[in-house]
């Protein structure tokens, strides 16, 4: 890669900042707080602009190309969301503004809670969790408090299928429970016999991802819910894959007690580096008093039909408490609200239907070229095996790297763990047929190359700014600094 570090671009004394005159009395900073050893780049404004513009052009993003990163729902995020999030009434609202001065924002939060509850069939929703993992944590803490409040302290286990998201066992452990892994059957569903054998009065609940990480809807979900409820456990649904279900299935109606949403996946708020995330939780009647707070509520009904009610923030009666300062990631609430309102109920249903249609189209067109275990009608994503009979030493990773040469972001590699050489592909609903066909053609060409010229795959990517990274060194060498590490940081 040709781009230099910003430290190497500058020269002593160069500066790109004009500071305005100070308009308050100046106080000298105490000498003991001044440091002369700060190693800062000294660059002009134009150098800074060119440096970061060049770096951003080396980056790959959904605005640049197809991004079929399974389990991440890398859909296009409409720019309308950015317009509304920047409206001064939202963007400049101070989080400590009192209720009287923030009725618009509270109304938006209340309406978003109601819509999310409606989409998934739950009784109430809290927008407090900062992202998906915190939503999971909130859900499991609610389950714990529910059991403890009933004086039932012997429930120490949470059941988790081996096709679940990797965050689920971590959540369970963080909340003080023991994770018990359940096997999958030959169809990729939960092994019902193993589930029933595991269900007893030490089970606090079960965490299940629907559709699971194979992209498959659990075919006997009602029996799974029933088995866990019969032993006194509660059902947690990991809602990260809601993009397959909206307007088609309501988890609350299937019997789930609690679920988190990923606004940054399903509801088109920014992702990863562009975040932050947002992971609201929805609950049924039983868990409403335990929701993390604060939640937006109507505290005074409107007197006339065309008046607005008075909204306020309320801490639920037996709340597990706060998870975050203020009110969750409010900027994401504005974007998700915009997305739901712009799409309407028919639009929301269309999103999930097209997400499933796109995934199934790619799956069926690749099934003769790649081995697809559990090859049945999938939800929003599917998993194929990235290796070929008779071709030694070509792995899923090599296919992914070669896809970059064709201009596509690689799929998710080596997850779920129950599929060897897994490549997990999630096209999302926002891609058109031409883009999907382009991806399918590239995957077929790569399969042919694997047989004819496997070194082309092993040495890929050939067109990216950098080729293979040293992943072993990245995992082992944790302290990274381009300059000598200063004494105060060592």
């Amino acid at each position: 890669m040709s781009e230099q570090l910003i430290y190497d671009l500058g020269s002593p004394g160069r500066c790109g900042v004009l500071l305005p005159d100070c308009d308050v009395p100046q106080e000298a900073i105490p000498a003991e707080l001044l440091r002369a050893d700060l190693d800062l780049p000294e660059v002009g404004e134009l150098q800074v602009i060119r440096h970061f513009t060049r770096l951003s052009s080396l980056n790959y993003s959904i605005d640049k190309g197809f991004y079929p990163l399974g389990s991440c729902t890398m859909k296009y995020n409409p720019k309308l969301n950015e317009d509304t999030a920047r409206m001064p009434g939202f963007a400049q609202l101070h989080p400590l503004t009192d209720g009287a001065g923030s009725q618009g924002a509270l109304a938006l939060m209340y309406q978003l809670q109601e819509w999310l509850a409606e989409i998934s069939g739950f009784k109430a929703v809290s927008l407090a969790p900062a992202a998906g993992a915190q939503g999971e944590f909130a859900g499991i803490l609610m389950i714990r408090k529910y059991h403890v409040d009933r004086g039932d302290n012997k429930r120490t286990k949470i059941l988790i299928p081996n096709s679940a998201h990797g965050t689920n066992p971590a959540t369970v452990t963080m909340a003080g429970f023991t994770a018990v892994e359940l096997p999958s059957d030959e169809n990729g569903d939960v092994d019902l016999a193993a589930l029933r054998a595991a269900c007893d009065d030490t089970v606090a609940g079960m965490m299940i991802t629907v559709p699971n990480t194979l992209g498959l809807f659990e075919s006997h979900i009602l029996e799974v819910v029933k088995a866990v409820h019969e032993c006194g456990g509660l059902m947690y649904m990991d809602g990260a894959n809601m993009n397959a279900l909206m307007g088609v299935v309501k988890p609350g109606e299937l019997g789930f007690d609690v679920m988190h949403y990923n606004l940054h996946k399903t509801f088109s708020t920014p992702h990863g580096g562009g975040g932050p995330g947002s992971g609201p939780v929805g609950v049924n009647e039983k868990l409403v008093p335990y929701l993390p707070g604060p939640v937006a509520q109507i505290i005074e009904a409107a007197e006339e039909a065309d008046d607005a009610p008075l909204y306020g923030l309320v801490m639920p009666e037996k709340s597990i408490g706060r998870l975050k300062a203020f009110h969750g990631n409010f900027g994401m609430h504005v974007r998700a609200y915009t997305y739901i309102r712009a799409n309407g109920d028919e639009g929301i249903r269309g999103i999930s239907r097209h997400a499933a249609l796109n995934a199934n189209y790619v799956r069926v067109r690749l099934q003769d070229t790649y081995k697809i275990p559990y090859n049945r009608y999938c939800g929003h994503e599917f998993v194929l095996e990235g290796h070929f009979e008779g071709v030694e030493n070509v792995h899923a990773l090599d296919i992914s790297k070669r896809l970059m040469d064709y201009g596509f972001h690689p799929p998710t590699n080596y997850f779920p763990l129950i599929v060897p050489e897994a490549l997990m592909i999630e096209p999302t609903e926002t891609e058109d047929k031409a883009t999907l066909d382009g991806f399918i053609d590239a995957m077929k060409k790569i399969a042919a190359e694997a047989h004819e010229n496997p070194d082309l795959l092993r040495s890929a990517p050939h067109t990216a700014p950098v080729s293979r990274l040293d992943e072993v060194r990245a995992a082992k060498q944790l302290v990274l600094c381009c300059r000598p590490i200063p004494e105060w940081a060592g």
Binding site: E392, F415, V472
Partner: protein
């Protein structure tokens, strides 16, 4: 599977650990198939010496650039030694899984438990069935 080794003097588990029995001591590692599947190994989490495990219990974690995997004792016993060379050079598991890449040694609590494990032929067949 063709290039991967499966020494005939060892016993194997379905989770891809191997066991070498010498007297009442058992040496445990992960198989060539397992290291090949995991790819470059970057970290091993060991149990304490003196810890006791029942057959099938998890005694540590092997982490590679691909995944973090629990590792399980093929038979019950008490840990008498861990391969501390792996703390600095976990890649020994990739280069020499049955030699320098061994993980732990245990004092067997019941050597008869090893009878339930696979021999090299059965394990080779098991690996072939998965690829």
């Amino acid at each position: 599977m063709s290039n991967l080794k499966t020494p005939s003097d060892l016993k194997y588990t379905k989770n891809d650990e191997w066991l070498r029995i010498e007297g009442d001591t058992g040496t445990i590692g992960i198989s060539d198939y397992a290291q090949d599947q995991l790819n470059d190994i970057v970290y091993v989490e060991f149990p304490d010496v003196g810890a006791t495990f029942k057959v099938g219990e998890s005694f540590g974690v092997v982490e590679s650039v691909k995944a973090a995997s629990d590792i399980y004792v093929p038979v019950g016993g008490t840990v008498i030694e861990v391969n501390s060379a792996l703390e600095d050079e976990p890649e020994l598991i990739n280069t020499d899984p049955y030699g320098a890449g061994w993980l732990i040694k245990i004092r067997l609590s019941d050597a008869a438990e090893a009878n339930a494990l696979m021999d090299a032929a059965a394990y080779t067949e098991y690996c072939n069935s998965r690829s």
